[in-house]
């Protein structure tokens, strides 16, 4: 029961949303992440943990999005990666 008020959410990243044609799933991850980092007033160097939320199967011709892929494309170097289950 020791975690009360110990941690905080400090930034949120949005992207265009709704019907947004011609975009890959990965591109939405990257834009949301970049915007969240900026919103918090941080830089990519600060991010040392990355969790990709539970997700759906990839579309034809697209890679399954893993936190490793998101980190690679964003130029992040997190110490810990995690993939949530669906």
């Amino acid at each position: 029961m020791g975690t009360k008020d110990k941690y905080a959410i400090v930034g949120v990243g949005y992207t265009p949303q709704g019907s947004v044609r011609g975009r890959t799933t990965l591109s939405f991850h990257l834009e949301a992440c970049a915007n969240a980092i900026e919103d918090a007033g941080l830089t990519g160097k600060d991010i040392d943990g990355l969790i990709c939320y539970r997700h759906f199967p990839a579309a034809t011709g697209e890679p399954d999005v893993t936190p490793y892929l998101v980190a690679q494309y964003l130029g992040l170097d997190p110490a810990h990666l995690s993939q949530d289950a669906n």
């Binding site: 008020d5 941690y7 709704g18 799933t25 992440c33 918090a40 997190p78």
Partner: protein, 290 residues
């Protein structure tokens, strides 16, 4: 990651081109077995089964769910990001929307969206020096009754919501009466009802009475899904409700901001949920303004 001292800033990410790609089609194509032959496949038919069972077990149905669909749409109408911002929904519109999988009408179903959402978690100390007022995590709890729906005894409650919330409230050291608003994972209208019921806002069959009269709408006594939610804003899994709670507590929600301008309580504490599978996993979070 944070509590173990492994990380200082954790980024949580979601993205999907679900609306414009063949991702869902591929998911459906991968499903097999006899159920599919009889039209029983995908999340909608499974949640419909749970909702139908609930109609048998206690008093619920479209008379309850219409208040959820219409109430959330009123919030979406105030949200410039919402896919349904410009389309109001009346009770007649709800009843006139086509049946998708009985007992669900179209407007009982969540949206399918292109887009993404992300947020960052850090320690309360580090949060103090950053740009926005931090939103503290008071308590969090999970419960995952992970059996197949066909053998489940949780379709009509208790779902994982009950124990998850008990744990979250125990950590937070508060009660239901301290909650100012809720951001609830709403893949279907019924999901909102069963989640709030398991959280203890009302008893089985009392949902219609609790929801009616604009309880969850702008001006209501317990605002729910103030972005429009998955039903009327956009579908980003548990990040639609969670990030909306954060933005509300930071006071960054513009026209839909909870407080005097929407004739609601200025929020100090917001209760959030996410569930996965067909009610097989549940996470509950209690967030507060610093």
């Amino acid at each position: 990651m944070l509590d173990a001292g492994l990380c200082n800033y954790v980024l949580v990410s979601y993205g999907h081109n679900g609306r414009s790609s063949d991702s869902f089609l591929r998911m459906m194509a991968d499903m097999g077995g006899d159920d599919q032959v009889f039209g029983h496949f995908g999340a909608a038919s499974c949640y419909a089964l749970a909702a139908r069972r609930a109609m048998h077990t206690f008093r619920t149905g479209p008379e309850t769910w219409k208040h959820i669909a219409v109430g959330q749409r009123k919030w979406a109408n105030l949200n410039p990001r919402a896919m349904f911002q410009r389309q109001p929904m009346s009770l007649d519109d709800y009843y006139n929307s086509r049946m998708t999988v009985e007992p669900f009408r179209l407007f009982d179903n969540c949206l399918i969206s292109d887009g993404g959402r992300a947020y960052i978690v850090t320690s309360a100390e580090r949060a103090r020096d950053l740009r926005h007022p931090p939103v503290l995590i008071m308590g969090t709890g999970q419960h995952n009754p992970a059996s197949d729906l066909q053998t489940a005894d949780f379709m009509t409650g208790s779902t994982g919501a009950k124990k998850a919330a008990e744990r979250a409230f125990a950590v937070a050291g508060i009660g239901l009466g301290d909650i100012d608003a809720c951001e609830i994972y709403d893949c279907f209208t019924y999901t909102v009802e069963i989640t709030l019921q398991d959280y203890g806002f009302f008893g089985p069959g009392e949902g219609e009475e609790w929801f009616k009269g604009g309880t969850i709408e702008p001006g209501g006594r317990m605002p729910v899904n103030t972005s429009g939610g998955l039903l009327s804003e956009a579908y980003f899994m548990g990040l639609t409700p969670l990030t909306e709670a954060v933005m509300q507590l930071m006071g960054r929600c513009g026209e839909r901001q909870l407080g005097p301008q929407t004739n609601t309580r200025t929020p100090q504490i917001i209760l959030c949920s996410d569930n996965g599978g067909i009610l097989q996993t549940h996470a509950c979070h209690i967030l507060r303004r610093a």
